[in-house]
Assembly symmetry: C2
Homo-oligomer: 421 residues x 2
């Protein structure tokens, strides 16, 4: 009877935090005109084998189902998105702006910021190859984090461009797509690997570590796309939220052109978000039937939670949201058991009007009922007892009391309770 | 690149319907003072083997993971709930009122109302064995469906009591728990099986089909619990939403006492919801460490969707909710490309204030931008063009136009746009 390693139980207090994150993601995505979609939790392994690249396939929770199909829990969203868009591309106006925020599964070594089941926001924009689309996506990632109460002092978007590395590689000889992939994997690990190891891996390309470092330090005009992006972001007032970082190349094979990752400023956490262009994926997955260019990013809930908890303003914002959504509005105190039937009618009526109402299921002393009311975070207690057919309405924070008729009660509560229906 | 059989893609229009259902479930559960929890999508097979009974284990999506663990996609929530509550029972005040609305997986024959991945609301109340708790749960199930715009003409809760059948069986001889289980399975299928088949299955018990039918038609005083429940429900004004039906016994082995299922009145669909008491499960799963009595129910999204679509009032309510949540508030029309930078600043500002704003990512004719605005369901278009630094604010439904300064715009929009943040 044990939880599996790398998986999470969401007790109410944990679930509230997850709900806050997902609700905020949804809210900001919708402000940007993105609509939500989702796919199945289980897909054929085939869907990932061709497109996601080797590393991910080694991390699949895959198995043969009772019908003999080789299936897997989904490790990411992009292949599902591509499958869905290719099947019904004509039904949707372009650009397609879709998001989702479901669960994913990867059999990885469990460590800080990395679990085997995780929630992840995915935002994708298909059918638009302009830098305006790139800016829309980077701005969306920034605004997502700002909505959590995080600022440019807390995080930064590091932007790069695979095309710039392609040009660099071309300038050092002629290389095919496969070589570019291997080369980018070296760059991906350049900050973590020992210099000698990097030198050894670069040797087959006839390129020195020094040359790579020189390019990173002074990439010259190879990052035009970044400069155009910067102009768009600055027009939105987002200077200070992003920077050029040529070493960002992203792990998955299908990225083309612009790529970016979001990190905490202190660099104590893993990437909070990451994404980029994948202009060839739709084409490759549809055997040429779809040619939509695309850009997307993902933002996982594990690292984001760690960042929110680490920044007091953000943690406080989360706490306030949760308190507001989870408190009861009214606790109906049954002070005289002979009035239980009347109390039930009142409970039913108030709930029917949209109020959050709790009451004692069994005969409990009045003092204990008031304790329950406070534990439920109720703003008001309504006492059904000897005053019937009058009620006692008590504001719990101030201890103010007033006699009120059942008919007046709904209007009185409506005027003070902020409903979040 | 095919969707697996029994699984669903949620295109935006499908996802909106699912979101409506989940949001409504959450809203009503919270009115009843239930708090949300969740568990992992994957559990050990062991968790289900002992407790859920044979049929469910045969329907598991189970496999051996890369660490050699025998794991399964969760087929239901109750074992996870029991595991979680047993681990931290002392941390939560009683009664524990928890709900969740996640995905579940069963390898079943695909048919109308039954898929291999489905969403299901689960509401459970632990630590209270009174009929008041039973009434709270049945009322919750009823109010869930009423909130969808369904009435007592559309659905009915059919209530029974396993204890009444136990008494019936005892009156016909002495039987153990295992015999009760087998007997209830006969009752479960009594309306579907041929009479001769039922007779044959009843033979080992020495009970005739006639005797069973007589008990169903006139169960006498054996359903006291139902009568107490009825009194509580009537006090809430819920007469007409429920009825006694002794043939309801529920499939899973762990139910005790009160059980109920919700059906559409026309009886053309499968059960919309079902649940009951499971007063012994916590004890059995914790080897006696926890003794919390419990009652819970589940409500799946597949049959519920079918019912909503079949009832015009309910379908219309869903449609209105979706339209209100998914429309853009404002479409920013860029009438002069030289003002693109100014438009971007405006877009950013309005989104920062919580408005849903769309705009053209590339240079597009003004007429086509207005088309996009209408497709996005926007109420307003704000035209950035030759009038700059003035803006043209256009109400799309009435075609009214007004010149307005960028400073005045937010206040003007706030006064008319209903934000759902």
């Amino acid at each position: 009877m044990q939880l599996l390693p790398g998986f999470r139980d969401f007790y109410p207090e944990d679930c509230a935090r997850r709900n806050y994150i997902v609700a905020t993601w949804r809210e900001v995505a919708r402000r940007y005109g993105f609509v939500e979609f989702d796919g199945p939790m289980l897909e054929t392994v085939e869907l990932y084998k061709k497109k996601s690249g080797g590393e991910l396939v080694g991390q699949l929770f895959d198995f043969t189902d009772k019908g003999g199909r080789h299936v897997t829990l989904r490790p990411e969203m992009t292949p599902t998105l591509a499958r869905m868009v290719i099947a019904r591309e004509r039904d949707y106006k372009k650009p397609i702006k879709w998001f989702c925020a479901p669960q994913f599964f990867r059999y990885e070594k469990q460590q800080k910021g990395r679990l085997r089941e995780f929630g992840q926001l995915n935002c994708d924009l298909l059918g638009e190859s302009s830098v305006a689309a790139d800016a829309e996506m980077v701005a969306l990632a920034i605004d997502m984090l700002r909505e959590f109460g995080l600022s440019g002092d807390d995080f930064v978007v590091r932007v790069s461009d695979r095309d710039a590395w392609k040009a660099f590689l071309d300038a050092h000889g002629s290389f095919d797509e496969a070589a570019l992939g291997s080369f980018l994997q070296i760059i991906d690990k350049i900050e973590r690997d020992r210099p000698e190891a990097v030198e050894a891996k670069l040797a087959p390309f006839g390129i020195s570590l020094e040359a790579v470092r020189a390019f990173i330090a002074d990439p010259g005009t190879h990052f035009e796309r970044f400069n155009s992006l910067a102009a768009e972001l600055d027009a939105r007032g987002l200077k200070g939220y992003y920077q050029l970082d040529p070493t960002i190349v992203r792990g998955l094979a299908y990225y083309t052109g612009l790529v970016f990752e979001v990190f905490d400023r202190k660099k104590t956490l893993r990437a909070v978000a990451g994404g980029g262009r994948y202009d060839n994926l739709m084409n490759a997955m549809s055997d040429g039937k779809s040619t939509l260019p695309a850009i997307g990013f993902g933002m996982g809930d594990v690292v984001l939670s760690e960042l929110i908890e680490a920044i007091p303003v953000a943690a406080q914002k989360m706490k306030a949201w949760i308190a507001q959504r989870h408190a009861a509005d009214v606790y109906v105190v049954i002070a005289n058991d002979a009035r239980r039937i009347d109390a039930l009618g009142l409970v039913q009526q108030l709930r029917g009007l949209g109020f959050r109402v709790d009451y004692p299921l069994s005969s409990v002393k009045v003092g204990k009922q008031f304790q329950s009311a406070e534990q439920a975070g109720a703003r008001f207690a309504v006492v059904v007892g000897d005053e019937w057919p009058q009620l006692k309405l008590k504001t719990l924070a101030t201890r103010e009391e007033a006699l009120i008729s059942p008919d007046e009660l709904p209007a009185r509560l409506t005027s003070v309770v902020h409903k979040t229906v």
